[in-house]
Structure formats: structure tokens, C-alpha cells
């Protein structure tokens, strides 16, 4: 190996490289080499290099060590300073407990409201559905343009025509009935989804165990299969993997268990226990008078194909709908197709209400921030001289700013933490105590991402209420502050102006919020005032009771068994009346058997020659109207004598008479309805009675014309029992259970519910909305009042000397009080005026949520500002009293 003379030893070069890095080693070795060349160096080459290198290395490493120690010292010192700063902040906050508690509590309330509402919004509206690529999922429905775009289910032949659309990758049809499970242990009534095999592909859902079913098991006549939910598999089969291959009898249909879905899969809604083959036929003979294409019974979910938008699907399906209209005018004329994203669809009508609540909670947050900002500003004003002295002694602006911001951050942090916890706890407690019927509501507060909104709200509030006062307090007027002192008029005037502006803003927001919540409260009151047309007290509901399917074939026997059952129930002590009905008014499953059934009234001239009239068909037993105390207006109620083989009869409601029988005697009219529900049933009936209107679907919708058929003439094996009497829902339910055990030991009996509770569910959502909004309104009112009182109190404090002079010159106490209150009132009036403008602009947004009141409801528009004025007078009273008690001598002598 060649080695040039005079070169430094390689080992040294390596060592220096290691110690100093390649670049510095290169520089050093170059310098050494050069010095040697210049002939300054003495001694032998190698040892000289080593000595010099070692000396430099020692120096260098020593310096580095010193630097590190110094640097480490700086870090420690900085940490120590931060701890000292924090401790100092805590100490100064502890010295003013009133301020600290007021600020953290206000921040906690505001952050808590936002977190609480957002957790609901997140769970219901925002959180993606638990399906792969859930954005591509859409719900398809039929809409009846001739009835104002009424949405309806989908008929099987239409479904088969729709799925040919290329913008849809696949589409699944389903419906979700209760089925009776027999054969394995106790018979049980379970919620099942009868779904076409495409369902699992559309949702991209894979089973946890076994497989899902395919076209083979979904083919009409094929061997039906069933897939179990995870919960049902655990509950009923003890999580036994051997359940695969077993056969379950569902409504008497033997189905092979092929798979178990993973926990958490619950389509279309929680509570579904199993999914089984739908085995849909493409065409079928008309049943009971209705062509197959007119039987709108299915729900449809579809997945958009790759690259297609819902707009594409909409226009393609529109074209298909128009083609079907031309091809099948009888059943499809006027019918279109609705395409809605599955997520938006599942939130449904709850959306606008929740967004209004979220907006309201953000308003509360803003009011709270304004309030806290004003408090912090007032405190900075009190500390103006301290800050000024510190600035004069050399504390930099950034240092003072930092200390004030540390304070705000600390306060916001404590408040935000408490608020987030408070909000989530309260909303869960509220929902547990008063369940509301919203999709995915049970997910509220479960998603940790919701905490982010708490953090965001905290940070936002910290900046909002901390920054402005801090900048003002450390602004260029510090020197002036020092001269004028803390109570000097000059230093506080600008701050006071800022605080007054904040109060005006607070009052404005509070007025807007109060008007909004007032309108919703009035809506709920109007809703609760609505007479549903029946009495729910002391009534229990048990349903549905599914008599064996075999009875479908034998209506006469069904009728007599049901009559016996009713008589047995009525025989129990405490039972006043009992009846059967297909659907319970205001319940979730309030549907009639047939939503719209065409009919004719041969004895009455039809005013509109165009469309045939139609009305819901409702099947009820004798005793139903008596049990629900639905008033009988004319004629008679159903009686046991209205049996099969006797004269066919019907009862209509008052709305029906108003619409279709105006000006004629309703009793005795002949009604011919097109739909025949049970075999051998007559379609021509005599109207024997008129009953009062019952709001069947919702309190906020007028009762439509309705037709009631007697269950003894049109017996249906699936009915709900209503019982009136003493003993509460449990006692009445026990009577039904005992009667059922005697007549049909194999039929499962679901637990009884009180009809009052069922009906209360119908107003649960609007009530929840109004209650939360009222809470926010009250919060806003309280915050605005506190803010106003605070501003007036410090205004009085700043003007003690002036007030003292006035008193000395002969002003009376009442005059001083009047002055302070007048000033407070001026601020309130300015805020109210602004707030009314804001409320006017935003009340239109609420219009969709209102019932029974308009957005311009005069009572609300008078009471809300009036309330604020009254509260603000009260809020100004305390500082005003203090002003009146100012001792002129003290005031002038002070300072």
C-alpha cells in the first residue's frame, strides 16, 4: 500500500472523523498537513500528528461537554421557569376564586353543550355506516307523484326491472317482519330480515362463521337458508359453532343455518336476529285483487357501480320508471323512483333538528366566550398597574402576553375538560332516561373521535376569550396605565368599550336563541295539546300475536279463535275492555295492512271523475273503539254479530265523511273496496257507523280518511291486542298471556307496553329538541345577565369618584340607581335590536320544525325580548345598589 510522505496517520484520521464528523476532521487534518508543509512543525511526523490531533480533540470535546452542560442547564432553567410561571398563575387564580370559578364553570357549560350535541350529531348524522365503501350505498323507493311525492315500498317486479340499471353494481330487496321460530326449544318471535341473496354483496358484509347464502338458496322453491346475528347465536345457541348445518323452522319454513354474522352487523337496524332467503318471484298471479306489480312491500338498498354517481343512478332509474309507466299504466302511472344516500336516509327527518341544535350550542359557546372574555378583560384592567410596572422593569411584551395566555389556556383547559366530561355524561344520562327514536342513537358518546370536538371547542374558546384581552392588556398604553393607575379613567375606557360591545353581542345571541327555543317549545306544547282521537291511559298493548300460519287457510276458524281469545281476556278481573287491531296508533309499527286501497261509493256521485278515491283499510275487532275510547259519532260500533256469512259492514271516520260523503247520510251507504284481504270475503259493504278521527301515524299530521273493517269478517292471523283496565301494563299483559297460553300454547307473547308510553314516543324527538334548546336558551339568558352585571359592576367601580361627586352635589340614591340601570338597559336594548334582526333572519330555518305556530309567533317574539329586558334590569340592580351606597367623602379621598 502506497502512502504519501507527510500524510497524517490513517488511524488518527479515522478517530477524528469519528469524533468530529468527516467535514471537521478534513479541515483539521488539512490544517495540520499544511502546517507541516510550512515547516513549522517539529519532531517526527507520526507522533507529531498524534499529539496535535489529541490536543485538539481534548479541547474540542471539552468545549462540547461544557456547551452541553450549559445547554442542558438552559433547558432545566426553562422548565423551571415554566413550572414557576404555572405555579404563579395558579396562585394568582387562587387569590381570585370567584373569577376562577366563574370562568371555568362558564367554559365548562359551553364546551359541555357543544360536546353533548355534537356527540349526537356525530353518531346519527356523520359517523360513516359500518359497511365497506358505505358512500356508494343508496336506498331506492317508489314515489307516488300523484299523492305529492308520497314515498312507498317497492313492488317485486319493479325491483327486478330496476336492478338492470348499469349505474347500480347490485341491489338487494328485503323486508323485516317478526317471524316465529319453532322446532328448537321454546318457540320465539324474532325480528328477521327476509333478504335477497344480493344483500351481503351490496353491503360487502362477510360472515364471522360459515358463509352467507347465494342465488341457489334464494331461488323460489330452493332450499331456504338462514344466517344468524352474532347476538342471537350467542343467546340462543351458546355460541356453538356446531349450529351450522342445523335446521330452524321460521314460520314453519325449514331453513338451514349456513352462517353467523360478526358482532355489530345489524342491517337494517339493531334488533334484527337473523337474515333468511327472500326467494322472490319475478311474476305471480294477482293476489286478492291486486296485480303483483302493485304490491309495494319491499325495501331496496343498492350499491352504485364503480364510477357512477347517485345522479347517474337517478337519471337512469328515471328513464326506467318512465318506461314502466308506459308498459304498466295500471300499476305504475305516476310512480317515480327515489334515490337517497343510505347515511342521509337513515338520519331522515332528524337531520335539520339536530343541525339546529348544534347551531344553538355553538351560539352558547360564543356567548360564553364573550362572557369570559369580558371577565378576563376586567381582571386585566384590575391588574393594569402591576403589568405596567413589570413592563417598565424590562419584562418584554411577549413575556407578559405569554403569562396572560397561560392563564387563559389553563382556565379553558380546566373548563374544557370538565365540560367534555359533563356533556358526554349528561347526554348519555338524558338519553338513557328518555330514549328517543333516532337511528344509531345508541352509539352516542362511544366514538372517541367525539372527544376531538371537546378539544377543538376548548382551544377555540381559550383563544377566543384569551387573546383579545391579552393583546389589549399588553398593548402600547402600558406606560400610560402606569401614570393613570388601575382606576384611572383613561386606561379603562377602551377596555370598557370592548366589554360593552361584548355584552351587546351576548344579548343579541341570547335573544336569537330564546326566540328559536321559544318557537320549538310552543311547537311541542301545541303537539302535546293535539287530541290524538283516542285515550291512551290505562291501556296496554300486546303485539304482535302471530297465530299459526295454517290459519291463513281457514279465516272462519281464525275469526272464532280470536273472538274466544278476546272473551277470555275480558273475563279476567280488572279488564274493562279488549280489542284486536292490525296496527296501534302512534306506535312505530303503526302501518295499516293496506295504506291505500281504492274504493267506490255507488250511492254517491263522484265529483272528480279522474282518479278513483282510495283510503287506508284498517282491520279491528269488536271492542277496539271502546278500548281506546274512540268516540262513536253516528250509527253503531262493530259487534260480535258482524261475523263471516252475515251482512258485510264497514265503519268510516269523520274525515272520510267530510271528504267523500259530504251532505249525504253516511249510515247505510254502500262501500265497494277493491282489495279483498281474505279468501271468500265480500267486497261490497254497508257503512254502519262513523267514528272520530284518530291520528294514526303522527300527531302533527291530520287524520286522513280511514275505512275500518271488522276482524270477524276479515280475520288476519297477525294482530295486536289492546286492553283497558286496572293493573298497569304488566297486569293487563299477564291477562293476555294467560288467555293465550290457554288458546295457543305455541304462540310467543311479547311483553305488554303501556299505550301512553308508546304514544309518548311520538313526541319524544320534538320534545328532546325543544328541551335541549330551552336549556341552551336558559343558559344564554343566564350568561348574558351575568355578563351585563359584571360590566356594570366594573363601570361603577371605575366611576366611584364621579359618583361620589354627584352624591356630594346632591344626587339622590334613586337617581344614581336609575343612572346605572339606564345604562345597562341601553346596552340590552342595543343587543335586543340586533338579536331580533338575527332571529328574523334565522327563524325561517326553523320553519320545518315548527308545528302549530308560525316562525313569526307573536307571543314568542314578545316574551323572549321581554324576558331579557326584565333579567337585565335585575342584573343591573346589584351594581346600581352598590353605586347608590357610595360614600362621597370616601370616594373623593380615595386614590
Amino acid at each position: 500500500m502506497t502512502r504519501r510522505a507527510g500524510e497524517p496517520p490513517r488511524a488518527l484520521a479515522r478517530l477524528l472523523e469519528l469524533a468530529l464528523g468527516a467535514e471537521e476532521a478534513e479541515v483539521l487534518l488539512g490544517d495540520l498537513r499544511e502546517e507541516r508543509e510550512r515547516g513549522r512543525a517539529l519532531g517526527s511526523g507520526r507522533s507529531w500528528y498524534w499529539r496535535q490531533g489529541a490536543a485538539v480533540l481534548v479541547c474540542e470535546l471539552g468545549a462540547r461537554l461544557r456547551r452541553r452542560r450549559r445547554h442542558g442547564g438552559a433547558v432545566l432553567e426553562r422548565a423551571g421557569r415554566a413550572v414557576r410561571e404555572l405555579r404563579q398563575t395558579l396562585r394568582s387564580l387562587r387569590r381570585e376564586p370567584g373569577f376562577t370559578v366563574a370562568v371555568t364553570a362558564t367554559a365548562a357549560l359551553a364546551v359541555g353543550s357543544v360536546t353533548a350535541v355534537y356527540s349526537v350529531v356525530h353518531a346519527v348524522l356523520l359517523a360513516p355506516l359500518p359497511y365497506e365503501d358505505s358512500d356508494a350505498l343508496v336506498r331506492l323507493r317508489e314515489i307516488d307523484a300523484s299523492q305529492g311525492g308520497r314515498r312507498d315500498f317497492v313492488s317485486p317486479p319493479n325491483y327486478f326491472d330496476w336492478i338492470e340499471a348499469t349505474s347500480l353494481e347490485s341491489a338487494a330487496a328485503w323486508w323485516t317482519p317478526f317471524v316465529t321460530l319453532t322446532g328448537e326449544g321454546e318457540p320465539e318471535r324474532v325480528l328477521a330480515t327476509l333478504a335477497s341473496h344480493e344483500l351481503f354483496g351490496v353491503l360487502r358484509a362477510r360472515p364471522a362463521l360459515g358463509r352467507t347464502y347465494g342465488p341457489e338458496q334464494d331461488r323460489p322453491g330452493g332450499p331456504p337458508a338462514v344466517v344468524l346475528s352474532h347476538g342471537f347465536w350467542q343467546r340462543r345457541f351458546g355460541a356453538d359453532p356446531g349450529v351450522l348445518g342445523r335446521t330452524l323452522n321460521l314460520d314453519g319454513r325449514p331453513c338451514e343455518v349456513v352462517g353467523v354474522m360478526p358482532a355489530g352487523f345489524a342491517f337494517p337496524a339493531p334488533g334484527v336476529e337473523l337474515w333468511t332467503s327472500l326467494q322472490l318471484r319475478r311474476s305471480e298471479e294477482p293476489t286478492m285483487g291486486t296485480p303483483y306489480r302493485g304490491m309495494r312491500i319491499l325495501e331496496v338498498v343498492a350499491r352504485l357501480s364503480e364510477g357512477s354517481s347517485d345522479e347517474d343512478a337517478r337519471s337512469e332509474l328515471d328513464a326506467i320508471a318512465r318506461r314502466l309507466e308506459r308498459a304498466y299504466p295500471d300499476t305504475n302511472a305516476g310512480w317515480g323512483i327515489e334515490v337517497a344516500g343510505l347515511l342521509e336516509d337513515s338520519a331522515g327527518s332528524a337531520r335539520s333538528g339536530l343541525l339546529a341544535l348544534l347551531a344553538a350550542s355553538c351560539l352558547v359557546l360564543m356567548i360564553a366566550c364573550a362572557n369570559v372574555s369580558s371577565l378576563v378583560l376586567a381582571r386585566a384592567q384590575r391588574r393594569a398597574r402591576e403589568l405596567a410596572v413589570r413592563a417598565a422593569l424590562g419584562a418584554s411584551r411577549s413575556r407578559l402576553l405569554r403569562q396572560l395566555l397561560v392563564e387563559s389556556a389553563l382556565l379553558a383547559g380546566i373548563g374544557g375538560l370538565a365540560g367534555t366530561w359533563l356533556g358526554l355524561t349528561l347526554i348519555r344520562a338524558l338519553l338513557a332516561a328518555r330514549p328517543i327514536d333516532l337511528p344509531r342513537i345508541e352509539e352516542v358518546g362511544r366514538d372517541p373521535r367525539v372527544l376531538l370536538i371537546g378539544v377543538a371547542a376548548t382551544v377555540a374558546s381559550g383563544i377566543l376569550f384569551g387573546l383579545v384581552p391579552a393583546l389589549r392588556a399588553t398593548g402600547g398604553e402600558l406606560a400610560a396605565r402606569l401614570r393613570f393607575g388601575a382606576s384611572g379613567a383613561w386606561s379603562s375606557r377602551r377596555d370598557a368599550r370592548a366589554r360593552r360591545a361584548l355584552v351587546v353581542g351576548e344579548v343579541a345571541l341570547a335573544v336569537a336563541l330564546l326566540i328559536g327555543s321559544g318557537l320549538l317549545i310552543r311547537s311541542v306544547a301545541a303537539l302535546l295539546d293535539v287530541d290524538p282521537g283516542f285515550s291512551a291511559t290505562d291501556v296496554a298493548v300486546v303485539g304482535s300475536l302471530d297465530l299459526p300460519r295454517a290459519l291463513f287457510e281457514d279465516p272462519a276458524r281464525t275469526a272464532s279463535l280470536q273472538q274466544q281469545l278476546l272473551e277470555a281476556i275480558e273475563g279476567y278481573p280488572g279488564v274493562e275492555a279488549a280489542g284486536l287491531s292490525l296496527g296501534i296508533p302512534l306506535a312505530r309499527d303503526a302501518d295499516f295492512f293496506v295504506a291505500q286501497s281504492p274504493f267506490e261509493l255507488p250511492g254517491v256521485a263522484r265529483p272528480d271523475a279522474g282518479r278513483r278515491p282510495s283510503a287506508p283499510l284498517h282491520v279491528v275487532s269488536p271492542g277496539f273503539f271502546e278500548t281506546l275510547r274512540v268516540p262513536l259519532v253516528l250509527g253503531r260500533s262493530f259487534e260480535p254479530r258482524d261475523a263471516r256469512g252475515r251482512r258485510p259492514v264497514a265503519i268510516v271516520n269523520e274525515a272520510f265523511v267530510r271528504r267523500h260523503l259530504a251532505g249525504v247520510e253516511p249510515i247505510g251507504q254502500t262501500l265497494v273496496h277493491e282489495l279483498v284481504l281474505t279468501a271468500g270475503e265480500e267486497a261490497e259493504r254497508e257503512i254502519v257507523g262513523v267514528v272520530g278521527d284518530v291520528r294514526h301515524f303522527a300527531l302533527n299530521a291530520e287524520a286522513p280518511p280511514q275505512i275500518y273493517l271488522p276482524s270477524l269478517q276479515t280475520p288476519w292471523p297477525r294482530m295486536q291486542v289492546v286492553v283497558r283496565g286496572s293493573g298497569g301494563a304488566a297486569g293487563l299483559g299477564a291477562a293476555v298471556r294467560r288467555a293465550m297460553a290457554g288458546a295457543f300454547p305455541d304462540v310467543p307473547v311479547p311483553p305488554a307496553m303501556s299505550l301512553a308510553e308508546v304514544a309518548a314516543q311520538a313526541v319524544a324527538l320534538p320534545r328532546f329538541r325543544a328541551e335541549l334548546l330551552a336549556l341552551f336558551g336558559a343558559l344564554a339568558l343566564a350568561l348574558a345577565a351575568v355578563g351585563l352585571a359584571g360590566v356594570q359592576a366594573s363601570a361603577v367601580a371605575a366611576r366611584v369618584r364621579e359618583i361620589g361627586v354627584r352624591v356630594a352635589l346632591g344626587a339622590r340614591g334613586t337617581q344614581v340607581v336609575g343612572m346605572v340601570v339606564r345604562e345597562g338597559l341601553a346596552l340590552t336594548l342595543a343587543g335586543v335590536a340586533l338579536g331580533l334582526l338575527g332571529a328574523y333572519a334565522s327563524s325561517r330555518l326553523l320553519a320545518g320544525l315548527l308545528f302549530g305556530v308560525g316562525p313569526g309567533d307573536p307571543l314568542t317574539w314578545l316574551v323572549a325580548p321581554g324576558l331579557l329586558l326584565a333579567v337585565s334590569i335585575a342584573a343591573c340592580w346589584i351594581p346600581a345598589r352598590r353605586a347608590a351606597l357610595v360614600d362621597p367623602l370616601e370616594a373623593i379621598r380615595a386614590d
Binding site: 499544511e34 502546517e35 485538539v56 414557576r84 410596572v389 424590562g394
Partner: protein, 126 residues
């Protein structure tokens, strides 16, 4: 007088000290050496200048460490310069005095010369 805490004074004093951090004697030597070496100021030439003018063969390591410190204080800036055959093809680190360095140096020297004013007799006596 409103309350004023110890912390406030502490800050004040620390800030004072930091601002009055003046140049040490060795730093003055190195800065002057750098100025003297002109365009070609690097370890060897700076040390050479000091040796030539003062006769002090200062420690090589001390020069390097001081150059580094002065650079960190913002009084010097450095760049890697060209390699020469004499250095065995290795690059050198060239230094240049920044404005702040010149100001600090002038202040230090002014201070020294003002301190010296009128003391020549006393110095000669000893």
C-alpha cells in the same frame, strides 16, 4: 407600589447579563487574527497571525473552539474553502467577521483603550 414578585427581578437581571456578555481577551485575539488574515482566514493563517504579532504559540484546540463559539454568537461566519495540494487535497474552513463581530470588537477595544488612557506613565513605571 403594587406587588412585584421576585421572578420579575430575576428576569430583568438575567436579561441584563445576557446583553452585557462582552468579549474575552482570547476572543479579541482570534477576531483580530481573523481580520488580519483577510480573505484567507482559516485555522492555520489565524494562528499564524497571532504567533507572528504576539509571539504566542496559542493552542490549536483553543483557536478552533473559540472560532466555533464566535460563530455561534453570530460574530463570525464560515464556509468550506478550496482544497490545495499542500493540504493533501483537503478543504479548509474559511472565516469572515460579521458586522456584529466588528461592532463587538470595536466596543471591546474602545473600552480597553479608554481604560488605558492616561495610564501610560503608570504602566511604564512598573
Amino acid at each position: 407600589m403594587p406587588e412585584l414578585d421576585a421572578l420579575c427581578y430575576y428576569d430583568y437581571i438575567v436579561d441584563l447579563m445576557r446583553e452585557r456578555d462582552s468579549l474575552g481577551e482570547f476572543e479579541i485575539l482570534v477576531l483580530l487574527g481573523t481580520l488580519r488574515a483577510g480573505e484567507d482566514a482559516y485555522g492555520v493563517t489565524i494562528r499564524g497571525q497571532i504567533l507572528e504579532r504576539t509571539g504566542r504559540d496559542v493552542s490549536r484546540g483553543a483557536v478552533y473552539v473559540t472560532l466555533e463559539r464566535l460563530e455561534q454568537k453570530g460574530y463570525l461566519e464560515s464556509r468550506l474553502g478550496g482544497a490545495t495540494a499542500r493540504r493533501g487535497g483537503r478543504r479548509k474552513r474559511l472565516y469572515c467577521v460579521r458586522r456584529a463581530g466588528r461592532v463587538a470588537l470595536r466596543q471591546a477595544l474602545d473600552g480597553l483603550s479608554r481604560m488605558r488612557e492616561g495610564l501610560d506613565p503608570a504602566l511604564e513605571e512598573s
